[in-house]
């Protein structure tokens, strides 16, 4: 772990539009909420920049915001936060798995439509997945399975028997 980037902020309750816009950005980034007006992400070039711009947006909305680089005093604290973030992503991946499985019995057209949508959803979740849970690979497999389901898979029957090319 190379450290965290923290955003400490206050934003007026009214008007609600900028406050909701900022809240949506936090959801999209998958921030850890450390307290009222304090959010955190593992620090890298992208997360630091995203927090900088959100801070700017908050200041433009007549609020106040400061961005900090931080490391936890006790390692257990960090693990707790990482576990919380991992669980939040696990729930999102699980929702993708459920949708993919449910779509498996559909027509080719339906499956293709769900496949496109879920691939995009996986991309979005992946962007905010800093501590990948086991569900990530399962979700990827379930979604890609939609691309092949319905077609007989020839791979096994055409594969040479063991040792043939030894």
């Amino acid at each position: 772990m190379t450290g965290w980037v923290l955003l400490a902020y206050r934003i007026p309750r009214e008007p609600s539009r900028p406050r909701i816009a900022v809240w949506r950005k936090f959801e999209r980034l998958g921030v850890a909420r450390l307290g009222d007006g304090l959010v955190a992400l593992p620090a890298d070039a992208r997360t630091r920049e995203q927090f900088d711009w959100i801070a700017e947006e908050i200041v433009e909305a007549e609020g106040s915001a400061t961005v900090w680089l931080a490391s936890p005093a006790v390692e257990e604290q960090e693990q707790q936060i990482a576990t919380g973030m991992r669980q939040a992503r696990a729930a999102e991946y699980q929702a993708v798995i459920d949708e993919a499985v449910a779509a498996g019995g559909g027509t080719d057209t339906e499956r293709a439509r769900v496949l496109r949508r879920l691939r995009a959803e996986l991309h979005r979740i992946g962007r905010r997945d800093f501590f990948p849970p086991a569900q990530r690979d399962q979700a990827r497999a379930a979604v890609e399975n939609l691309a092949t389901a319905g077609n007989p898979a020839p791979a096994e029957s055409l594969a040479p028997a063991d040792g043939e090319h030894a």
Binding site: R28, E57, E60
Partner: protein
């Protein structure tokens, strides 16, 4: 003229540098700084917190510069959609090129300094401009 931006350029700053060179200042000198206080007095800062040429009202810096300098070329606004998505990734626009461009720029920042990134990305944005100029004229994907 002298222009200053944050060191470690990524998509928005690379695109802005290209935009400045091609449409605002044919002989720009770019300075890369670590913090706003390091911006030289005679330089125009861009894509930094607290400056006019930055993110404003949901726009990325490329879009802000187009507005401030009243550049209405529709091809530039098409490129702005791609830069916006590669930079902010909020799905405001449909710009499938964005994901690939984001990866290319991140990779470039790993293997060279900011001067090299600008050297490499100048012809990339020239090509992107020409492609979308033809696409707009033909009203379909060119070639």
């Amino acid at each position: 003229m002298k222009w200053a931006t944050r060191a470690g350029v990524h998509i928005d700053r690379a695109a802005c540098a290209w935009l400045i060179r091609r449409h605002i200042d044919p002989r720009p000198e770019f300075v890369f700084v670590g913090s706003p206080s390091a911006v030289p007095a005679d330089a125009t800062p861009f894509d930094m917190r607290g400056v006019d040429l930055g993110h404003h009202g949901g726009d990325c810096t490329f879009e802000t510069i187009l507005r401030r300098y009243e550049l209405h070329d529709p091809v530039l606004w098409k490129i702005a959609e791609i830069v916006h998505e590669a930079d902010i990734d909020d799905e405001k626009f449909h710009a499938p090129e964005a994901a690939g461009l984001d990866v290319v720029l991140r990779g470039l920042s790993m293997i060279g300094d900011d001067e090299q990134t600008l050297r490499v990305t100048t012809p990339i944005f020239d090509g992107l401009y020409e492609y979308h100029r033809r696409a707009l004229l033909l009203d379909r994907p060119p070639a």
